[in-house]
């Protein structure tokens, strides 16, 4: 079962996604971390998320690009967070797939979905604050929006989290 969780800044999407993972029947919890620690703010954010997962017995797998290289056991529940980072990494990192960012992420997600028991994918809502940005930003927004739509198609359940509360657009809460 795959659930896509989308939300804006500090919308409570991470906490909600984690709740879904903890409620899964699969007990081997694998967290796929995608944020490359560039600066202090990244480190603080990584630390915050690490604390949230502390004592919840998550195994952390770091994956900045090429999601398809990650293998997980069949009895696992996977938390992939977050697609916004992964998309930026694929587009801008020297190891990334550049123009094939969307396809690379979708292939990786589909492979993970086939391997694991349950999967929760977190992505970003960054599309409701304006429509006029410089071309580089627009290119990123177009790619991420495409990934979100493709992931929503692949997922069994899709929700947006607003103020910590999920609103389902497809399927239903899996637990």
């Amino acid at each position: 079962m795959m659930t896509l969780v989308i939300g804006g800044a500090a919308s409570g999407k991470s906490e909600y996604a984690e709740r879904l993972v903890l409620a899964s029947a699969y007990e081997r919890r694998i967290y796929i971390a995608t944020m490359e620690p560039f600066d202090g703010e990244c480190l603080a954010r990584i630390e915050k998320h690490r604390r949230m997962r502390a004592e919840k017995r998550f195994e952390t797998v770091e994956c900045y690009t090429n999601l398809a290289s990650v293998t997980v056991p069949p009895d696992s529940v996977v938390l992939l967070e977050c697609v916004g980072n992964l998309c930026a990494n694929e587009m801008y990192s020297p190891h990334g797939s550049g123009d094939r960012a969307a396809e690379t992420i979708l292939e990786g997600a589909a492979r993970l979905k086939d391997q694991c028991g349950d999967m929760v994918v977190v992505s970003n809502e960054v599309f409701a604050g304006g429509s006029c940005y410089e071309e580089g930003t627009m290119a990123y927004l177009r790619r991420l929006a495409r990934v979100n739509r493709m992931l929503a198609d692949l997922a069994d359940n899709v929700c947006e989290v607003a103020c910590g509360i999920p609103v389902y657009y497809k399927g239903k809460e899996p637990c």
Binding site: G8, A9, A10, A162, C163
Partner: protein
Amino acid sequence: MIFLFGPLYSGKRELAMELLRCDAAELARRAVWDVQDLAAKSGDLPALAEELAKYDVVIATEVGGGVVPVSPDERAAREAAGRLNCLLAQRAETVARVFCGISMVLKGELP
């Protein structure tokens, strides 16, 4: 407490007046709005949420749905606003999102 949120100028205060059956003057006493601006200035979001929860209606404009701002201060302000919204939604009996003047109840029920 009823927590209303939604985009800018989506009809949040009009809905609040309808719910409280009151005029603008009374709304100013019983409700508080633009709490996203208070979040940015607050050093203690749980305490702020507790204080705001004393009003009958609390209203926030959603500001977290855009591109991540380049300025660290703007990023922090947006994070604080989102975090405050989660805290307010937890404390509220009723939570509704207002879109083009139409409300969608996410928690509890509207009076």
